[in-house]
Symmetry: C2
Subunit: 496 residues, 2 copies
Amino acid sequence: MADGPEGGAQEPLVLVSNRGPVQYARTEGEERTAKPGHGGLVTALAGLAGHLDDAVWVCAALGEEDVAVAREHDGAAFEEEGVGLRLRLVELEAEVQHKFYAIVSNPLLWFIQHHLWDLGSTPDITRREIDAFENGYVPVNERFADAVAEEVEARGGRATVMVQDYHFYLVPERVRARCPEVFLHHFVHIPWPAPEAWRVLPPAMRAAVFNGLLGSDVVAFHLRRSARNFVLGCEELLGLEVDLNGLTVAVGERTVAARWYPISVDPDELAATAASPAVADQERRLAGTRREHLVVRVDRADPSKNILRGFRAFDTMLDDHPELAERVSFLALLQPSRGDVPQYVEYLDRVRRLVADINLKHGTGDWQPIQLGLEGDFDEVVAAYKLYDVLLVNPVSDGMNLVAKEGVLVNQRGGVLALSETAGAHEELGAHAVTVHPFDIQQQADALFQALTMDSDERQERLARSAAFVREHDVATWLRNQLDDVAELRDARSGG
Amino acid sequence: MADGPEGGAQEPLVLVSNRGPVQYARTEGEERTAKPGHGGLVTALAGLAGHLDDAVWVCAALGEEDVAVAREHDGAAFEEEGVGLRLRLVELEAEVQHKFYAIVSNPLLWFIQHHLWDLGSTPDITRREIDAFENGYVPVNERFADAVAEEVEARGGRATVMVQDYHFYLVPERVRARCPEVFLHHFVHIPWPAPEAWRVLPPAMRAAVFNGLLGSDVVAFHLRRSARNFVLGCEELLGLEVDLNGLTVAVGERTVAARWYPISVDPDELAATAASPAVADQERRLAGTRREHLVVRVDRADPSKNILRGFRAFDTMLDDHPELAERVSFLALLQPSRGDVPQYVEYLDRVRRLVADINLKHGTGDWQPIQLGLEGDFDEVVAAYKLYDVLLVNPVSDGMNLVAKEGVLVNQRGGVLALSETAGAHEELGAHAVTVHPFDIQQQADALFQALTMDSDERQERLARSAAFVREHDVATWLRNQLDDVAELRDARSGG
């Protein structure tokens, strides 16, 4: 086979992710609706799949109506006209889904990968966690691997399979066992930590994670340091032979490559949203309530996003600069997340209490320094992107962080990005941002002040450079780079 | 210069550590006493220094009487007859000492290096921490560097300097600046974490730590993985050129080597203590209260030691094996530690409460399953070593853990070592121990039961092999290996 640079797209494609490209809903007595997800990844993959003769997307049936649709098709793939591609919805029993999602994927894996456990006290691995792995994470991964293998087998055993994220670490090994000719690509969208962080998992569990991923031909990350950590872990925890410069792992006769591709967004889709009447409505509303300066943050309500320290830094800035009283407000648009995980419920409680404390301390009769929005309305988010003077993106750690990339594309006020050095996006946008150190409250306060008072020309120039960078390095480029590598590696494999 | 294998000992030697080899005391109206510390490191270094024509030990004046002694000598070095070597006591003001020790060294650095922070919530770097670094850690390191440099200069500028541990990361760079001809060796006794863990420190602070250590010729650790993490950190955080196989770092014209030497204990000293009448008294007392099975743990009361999960595992074992009721007891000898650090006070409180809960749950009229000893009496510790059936050493992570090595040398009952896979000692003793996974409560419970019920022949054989290993790899060997390397590297430097 000698594919061109777009050759990755010539073979049948099987995409796998937990959340699919469309969510079904039905309100009583009404028609079924199919709402496409927003965000670069869904758009890019859906765009790719739409251009192929033969592509199918395997994902979980997450809501009631998703389940209804899955059952109507007996769990088989079907054509979804709305997004123009074939879908296969995998139905999971509620209890299995809970163990898979709300115990193992979150918080256990997520917290390990973002260093959110304090190891002297948490986590405890007990029968509950072992059971959730064995009777939740493993069977869900098996179910998905079976669905993928069926799709591959239906195509004569040859296809490119692209698996997304930390829900499915065990899928590649199982698909490989059934379909040895397949080309397997697994993308991990969250940071891959150093080998020692994986020691939180009992040996059998961490070996399952690594061996599962090593069924792939390529394990991909956003950052080189994640790719290297993966290779280091294969050496230290599994005793495999690795190449620390070439970032490959020898697994029997096969070679697994660790690669990195910084994800991005779709500038055109975002521009279209930004120009919509719905966003204009939100913009008018927000403009009516704003003060002289507006700080914005947009995040899932997740401890890795460092929301508490961001508010403490704002509090410190108000302490240090009383002249800002009544002249600045902080709009925090937080999407409540993982409400079935106690750590997330508790975190959101702490966020609310801290906001109340700070508003009580600094607020006046008609000025509340922090406004908390928990609706998760994307039109409101895009309106806030347009209006910010400072966009605070201060995660503890983050695979990439697309808020930073979306914000700089849409902003219309010469807004300054205050960006954590530990966000993946910092490698690309750090030069044009004000860098914040995520644990240093005082430095974050000083950085917020610096950003708010920055000279107008410098603000405009930084914003223009950031936006230009993101436009040049968009999600289509991200995907094309991966597919080029897939084609090359596939050729090398069939040639060798 | 062409030294023999013991050549490291031919040049003047300057030792540096926070706690010195002797502690001065005076009770009212009595003579001054000089109590030598116990433990392999002090014995080995004191033994080495005692055999040299010219050696001096620089350490902190920690107690009131230490300060009195320091002042009598105007802060200069003096001959300490009791331990047969020269000492130089460095006096620190209480406030500076507090910032240095109880804010920066602990908890900040210690918690980073043992992964004890939950990064979503702790630590906060505020003005307090920055101040403690700038006005505590930095000046104490400068004070020690000046004292070392004076000792080196008094010897014509040539000496071997051996600095101990995490209190003095900034010393080598400063000594190097004043004494370019010196040979500097820094030993880090606690785990060196992956680069990402160091991102908890603001950039200037972590650069100070790495650059400080890079003043050394050799940076030494107990384990290869710590040495590699150090080299990885130099590359990732400082952008230096490194050799990941040879484990060296290029710093300008110089090459810094990362090495590893697993520390050990002094078998003869320990045997002498074990044979003492004081230990025999303690042994009789403990023997009188013991049940059929005795589990022992010996630790500083530190979250890295994983004391809570050890008790939870014991609780789980009693749940799972009611037949053990009234037949087993758990003697936990914990040395209260760092009482001026809130995290340590809180941790000890949690330990006490958990012990009370478990004793209330399982205890009977004349049986308390867990006995907590907080006296820190070493004779009692050695007596417990002799008597244990199982020695639980389950740290979250640990540079080495000498309790494991002491225990197997002294035990007289075919006791089984239950050893965490994340303790440094596991690389050497793991093959003869029952391995425990520090976060897995159920597995620890099962491992305790397995150890308690192990066949007698197997117990004896494992114990004999462990003890033989430690006798062959004692602290004298540890020190000799380092000095051989020092001699070799010094020769290479002066030859090249």
